[in-house]
Point group: C3
Chain length 341, copies 3
């Protein structure tokens, strides 16, 4: 078990060691879950009060905070906590051993950096490029002509289809498929005729995609996930979708074909965006929403069909009064219809 004196952690994080005690820290956890030996963090003065119910031995606090608990004061305590957590990560070399595993199948025409790691049973197709520092865990398939930049992490059982292009520092979690055929068929007398999907997928620098998600290749041209965007598990991104930079798609959300999503957008869990729609920069789409028309920049939507979240909650509150309203109107009608004596 690793351990650090709190004063050492202060130095590591570039913060100010506060208090007289200098406890030994062996772990990290949020306020509710922390036990003795853990470092925790608080982001607001309000949360400071909850420290006395926490088992934490020390805390990262912000510039204006005071506490009796041994502390490190930092510009951004949550950010410092993230840096501290990194110390507990399993070393990359243990998950992705160095070199090319003997069971990997690498096409002789592939250009794999000597500084890349290719794990057991991986398959790297003809014409692929794998940049320095990029690592494939196991059972990864790179189809023909796939291009990976530097320092990508590709976890087990990821499939990347022919011609797709990844930037640098892209992370793909287990089971995700990049570049499967878009879903396009033409009705014909013989049934549904497949429209060939001959485009590709481009994942720009610093994109991260969770497990078992699907990013479909374009019919023609490119499906694009912009720089720094993050996609959770079980997310569907249809063909020819363009997603901007620093946008977040939460678990089980979906974006249908040819839709364009701006920068800094947040799509909540299980939300769905229909096809051929434009979502403006900074829009917030609440969990489970169903978007069937364009969304302006900065709008916050909820419901299906999705509308402004405040109106949506107002409508819901009104709806709960509707059974009573029906009774009230009936009463008004009875009075109306009562014969005047």
């Amino acid at each position: 078990m690793q351990s650090w004196k709190l004063s050492e952690i202060a130095k590591l994080l570039g913060g100010q060691f506060v208090g007289s005690d200098d406890p030994v820290i062996t772990g990290a956890a949020g306020l509710d879950e922390a036990v003795a030996g853990d470092l925790t963090f608080v982001t607001t003065v309000q949360l400071l009060a909850q420290l006395k119910n926490s088992g934490a031995s020390a805390v990262l606090i912000g510039p204006d905070m005071e506490t009796q608990v041994p502390a490190v004061r930092l510009g951004n305590p949550y950010d410092g906590f993230a840096d501290f957590l990194a110390l507990f990560q399993t070393p990359l070399d243990r998950v992705f051993p160095a070199g090319v595993h003997t069971t990997a199948v690498i096409d002789p025409t592939a250009d794999v950096s000597a500084a890349a790691c290719i794990g057991p049973h991986c398959v790297v197709g003809p014409g692929c490029v794998v940049g320095a520092g990029s690592r494939l865990e196991s059972h990864v398939t790179l189809g023909p002509d796939v291009c990976l930049g530097e320092d990508c992490l590709i976890y087990a059982q990821v499939a990347i289809r022919e011609g797709c292009q990844l930037g640098n520092r892209v992370i793909l979690h287990s089971g995700t498929c990049v570049g499967s055929d878009g879903f396009g068929f033409l009705p014909s007398k013989q049934g549904l005729k497949k429209i060939p999907q001959v485009g590709i997928v481009v994942l720009e620098d610093d994109v991260e995609i969770g497990s078992n998600s699907c990013i479909d290749r374009a019919t023609t041209g490119r499906t694009v996930i912009g720089q720094g965007s993050k996609i959770d598990n079980l997310v569907q991104v249809g063909h020819n979708v363009k997603i901007g930079c620093h946008t977040v798609l939460c678990g089980q959300s979906g974006v249908a074909g040819s839709t364009t999503i701006g920068n800094g957008v947040a799509v909540g869990g299980c939300a769905s965006v229909g096809d051929h729609i434009k979502v403006g920069d900074g829009a917030q789409i609440a969990g489970k929403a169903g978007i069937i028309s364009d969304v302006g920049p900065g709008e916050t939507l909820f419901g299906t069909p999705a509308i402004d979240i405040k109106e949506s909650f107002r409508l819901f509150a009104s709806l709960r009064k509707l059974p009573e309203l029906l009774r009230r109107v009936r009463k008004l009608e009875e009075i109306q219809n009562k014969p005047v004596d």
Copy 2:
């Protein structure tokens, strides 16, 4: 084709052979689908009437039932039917051949029981433990330090990330990912900064998880699926979620980060539970519901935002009267505004 006389089946299931005919049984099916040679079952006296439309040659009935069809009487006919079905299962040895396949890659520091089966192209990482009777089908990846108990069944292309712990008799179907990174990022000037996810996933005894589901590792500490809980296909369980015992999550449902779900809860297909929510024991969440606040024990909810299912259906019935109500109120207003002669 296997076959049994009905009287033999009565003995196998510990039931009472009823009737004079003793037909040869070669299959099993529900009432609607059964054909000659099939054994079926009925669970209520009401269903007995449907037997005459069924092609079944024999039936499992409950203690108080009578029928002209050759039958076996049992305390619980459905339970007996399940036991009978087990006779038709492909033998485990045919799906998971004994021993360690020559193409499996097993780290020398892994502790794999001599009574475990490791199928073709599996990868067992450093420090792993695989208990007696546990079986890995093919293309399974166990990351570093994964610990499996006894008699687990891990189907093809399952990925279990570093440090995760499985109890005994855990079943994971193809393509499921256990222990991928939780979805946690911090906004920063340089974009979204990854919060390291250094916790693990614990799957307790008798947990079963369907295909292509995702159970994310905790940020710190543990994501837990409690003893005997069953999770269907394409289900998302976020980081730091705690699910109790004997709870059921149906297909395409999702539970967001840090939510706690009690024991004996049923979450319907495609239902979603938001983050940091508590769901009490025995709650029933209907299919497609969206839970955005705490749920008390035993509550039954529907809709988005989810409310008591009876109120939800009442509101929906009222809503269908709303267009007519708008007309009725307009009429009242017109009368109101009519000048008194």
Copy 3:
């Protein structure tokens, strides 16, 4: 880069070359995305006007259309465009190299056609049959006694469980699971008892299934996807479901156990159909709908619970007037209650 004169393309597609220019075509794209060198297409006279804003060098047009842009006139321009796209596909041999890869593990009792391709690290179990022209990419697992017809394409990391049967020309995209256990449990004193799932899955000719979808095996008998039906990514099809022919299930939709869906049905993205439901031929289920009762042939439904789509939108429009209606009724009541002077 491939290139064709437009007049050559006219011959290839069996269309009529129109105009005096005969540009060199090197690509293909929709109206909005096309650039110089691209061939595009228009399907309606209305869209012809947009041609002047398109960068396309040439266009496929319908029988009654005229344009100044170099064109090829065809009975069905979209159909012709699909045929033209096929020229840009990566050759199958590059994705699925011929023959059986040395790392594939094929049971000696399997019957693999000499004209089949089995890619690296595939596993073909005992008793399997793989027909001529069928191709497995990599990391595919065929469990015992799986039967594939001719000319199937099975992409990386597909798992097909024991006994399942595929027709001819079936396409399965990466990560899809066919034949995992249906989700069936019986409550008992010891917890949830597993009901053995001893049926199979049948995928008829020309079925295509996207990435990371799940088609569960039947409890007894067969789960069936009918001829020519197309299923998108992340779709769940429960045990004992029967889906007709030429039916389309869009991304993230789901069909619960024992439901029957007719021919030519369209199920929108993220729509859910409950268990034991019948959906008639030609029904249209809009995206995100939740079906909880039978659907007649040709019906078009939306919402949860789903109702006729026109009524659904009418109700939604009425709902947006509800807060105002509440005020109006209050006013009527005030007038009613005002003491008559």
